[in-house]
């Protein structure tokens, strides 16, 4: 596989030259959202306001704030990415000028995945997380900390949220592609999902990244969405029951990640086979 850092750099430069205005608008809006979020936290931390709130009110306050940030920031990111990808193929001439750039499909694909989808999602998350940490570490008073609000944020499953929105961004690309010749691609997608991704890869990923719980037995034989209940932990395997469970880990590992990988694979082949 040919890979040239020089060509990759040029693709990056071209992308930012063409899209810097939309990216700037996004980050300005995002900064406003972060400032609002900081103000909310500060308001709760402020003794005169925060002291009048009980823990239940504070939790609702933060839940609403989370929702607001979540929707605003990621919806914005979603729109930005959709705009960027739509612009790339918005007419025949623009499509031709992109497709005929002499870079390998792998370089173009890697650029889309690393820089555009994952890059933007991670940057947005880091900014959000960083701001929250900064505000908590610098603005919170002892009294507010005592409300144990920190816990709300500590438990945020960042990895999963990141994956979810990377998935949305990639699916945006794919939706755009799938408009042409959808029959062929739907079948291919289903085929790929079944044959390559869903079954063998889950076990591999589980084995490598999510060393399975020893209680549930061997990684290679563990069945997704099945939980083992041991009434007595000291009597392993003697008196257990198996039940269906929908844990976040399982959903991420057995639905989210395979779908994401499948969409990335589709994106690669679509880049290779997109016609004007």
């Amino acid at each position: 596989m040919h890979f040239s850092l020089k060509r990759f750099g040029s693709l990056t430069r071209l992308f930012f030259q063409q899209n810097w205005k939309s990216i700037a608008v996004y980050f300005v809006i995002y900064t406003i959202v972060l400032l609002l979020m900081s103000s909310f936290i500060w308001a709760v931390a402020n003794e005169s306001i925060g002291a009048n709130m009980n823990q239940g009110q504070t939790n609702i306050f933060f839940l609403l704030m989370d929702f607001f940030i979540f929707v605003m920031s990621f919806f914005g990111l979603f729109i930005l990415l959709q705009y960027i990808f739509k612009r790339r193929f918005h007419n025949t001439n623009v499509t031709i000028s992109y497709l005929q750039i002499p870079a390998t499909t792998a370089e173009k694909w890697l650029f889309d995945i690393l820089i555009i989808s994952v890059g933007f999602t991670v940057t947005s998350l880091l900014l959000m997380y960083g701001t929250q940490q900064f505000v908590f570490n610098n603005l919170f008073s002892e009294e507010a900390t005592a409300l144990e609000i920190r816990g709300v944020f500590k438990n945020l499953p960042f990895l999963k949220i990141m994956t979810l929105f990377t998935l949305i961004s990639i699916s945006t690309i794919c939706t755009d592609y799938l408009k042409n010749d959808s029959k062929k691609w739907n079948w291919r997608s289903i085929g790929m999902l079944i044959a390559f991704v869903l079954f063998p890869l889950n076990w591999v990923l589980d084995w490598f990244f999510f060393k399975s719980n020893p209680v549930t037995g061997d990684t290679w034989t563990r069945i997704p969405f099945q939980g083992v209940t041991l009434p007595n932990p000291f009597e392993k395997y003697e008196n257990f029951s198996i039940e269906h469970v929908w844990t976040l880990d399982d959903m991420f590992l057995y639905i989210g990640l395979p779908t994401l990988l499948m969409l990335w694979a589709i994106h690669y082949f679509k880049l290779k086979e997109y016609e004007v």
């Binding site: 430069r13 001439n93 031709i96 016609e275 004007v276």
Partner: protein, 280 residues
């Protein structure tokens, strides 16, 4: 070398645009690609440049299949579409970014071409008119020094002096290892630089002949009136300022300038006669 073997292309199977089209294009020549609107000229260029994939048949350009979209293929080919939409940036930035992709790009050549076409290299592309953008794109395409250059209606939007400059540049950049295909309706704009005529008609190539051979096969003669027209060798005629201009078979085999526009018109209006007399 470009080999096209039984190429068929369609968006809807019942309405093919190109059907069983075959030809071979040699290096060192400038090909004029002609045909009426909707005859498939642009589709053929899209297929040659790997933007569309053949539904049937094969294409090979210097050993590459365009549909594979290999890096080496794109480094050897440059396609300039009819309507130009360049990114909004300064010319210098455009050159810095895009030149990286073309190993044989020559900045000195580009500066030379821009000078001839009277394009200010310090300008921003978004401040330029359509014609200026087109001239810049053509100059850049030539400076990339690719082995195959595909131009779709290159003279559209160019003023008269620019058309002349473009013709000069085309001849200047031409080398023995290059193939240039120019699709155009403006036959007169390019008749001085074209070596070979490709005429797409009824989904196939009707005429695939060098200008030199065509000049030996047909000639333009002016007659005083219609009665004087030669019935046996007549291909087509029209009223001119000096009388009746007739395109006839060149029975004496003496060399004459090919009236390319009239010839193309004849091919489109009377394909059966052309098939009968001029195709092998």
């Amino acid at each position: 070398m470009i080999h096209i073997d039984n190429l068929s292309f369609y968006y809807k199977k019942k309405k093919p645009i190109l059907s069983n089209l075959s030809t071979e294009l040699a290096q060192g020549k400038i090909y004029g690609l002609f045909g009426v609107n909707g005859s498939g000229k642009t589709t053929l260029l899209h297929t040659l440049s790997g933007m569309n994939f053949p539904k049937e048949g094969t294409i090979k350009l210097n050993g590459f299949q365009p549909k594979d979209r290999k890096l080496g293929f794109f480094q050897q080919i440059f396609f300039v579409p009819d309507a130009v939409e360049l990114p909004k940036m300064k010319i210098a930035t455009y050159i810095n970014i895009y030149s990286v992709f073309y190993p044989n790009f020559s900045e000195s050549k580009l500066n030379e071409y821009l000078k001839i076409l009277k394009i200010d290299a310090s300008e921003s592309l978004n401040n330029m008119s359509f014609g200026q953008q087109k001239k810049f794109h053509l100059a850049f395409a030539m400076a990339c020094n690719t082995k195959i250059l595909l131009l779709d209606e290159p003279t559209n939007g160019l003023d008269i002096p620019s058309k002349d400059q473009f013709r000069k540049l085309m001849l200047q950049q031409m080398t023995n290892d290059k193939i240039v295909i120019i699709s155009t309706h403006q036959a007169r704009d390019l008749d001085q630089i074209i070596d070979h005529v490709l005429l797409v008609h009824d989904k196939k190539i009707l005429v695939d002949e060098s200008i030199y051979k065509l000049s030996q096969k047909v000639k333009l003669t002016t007659y005083e009136n219609k009665d004087a027209l030669p019935k046996d060798s007549l291909l087509n005629y029209k009223s001119g300022i000096r009388g009746i201009e007739a395109l006839t078979l060149n029975t004496t085999n003496d060399f004459s300038d090919l009236p390319i526009e009239f010839f193309i018109q004849t091919c489109i209006e009377k394909p059966e006669i052309i098939k009968k007399h001029l195709t092998n």
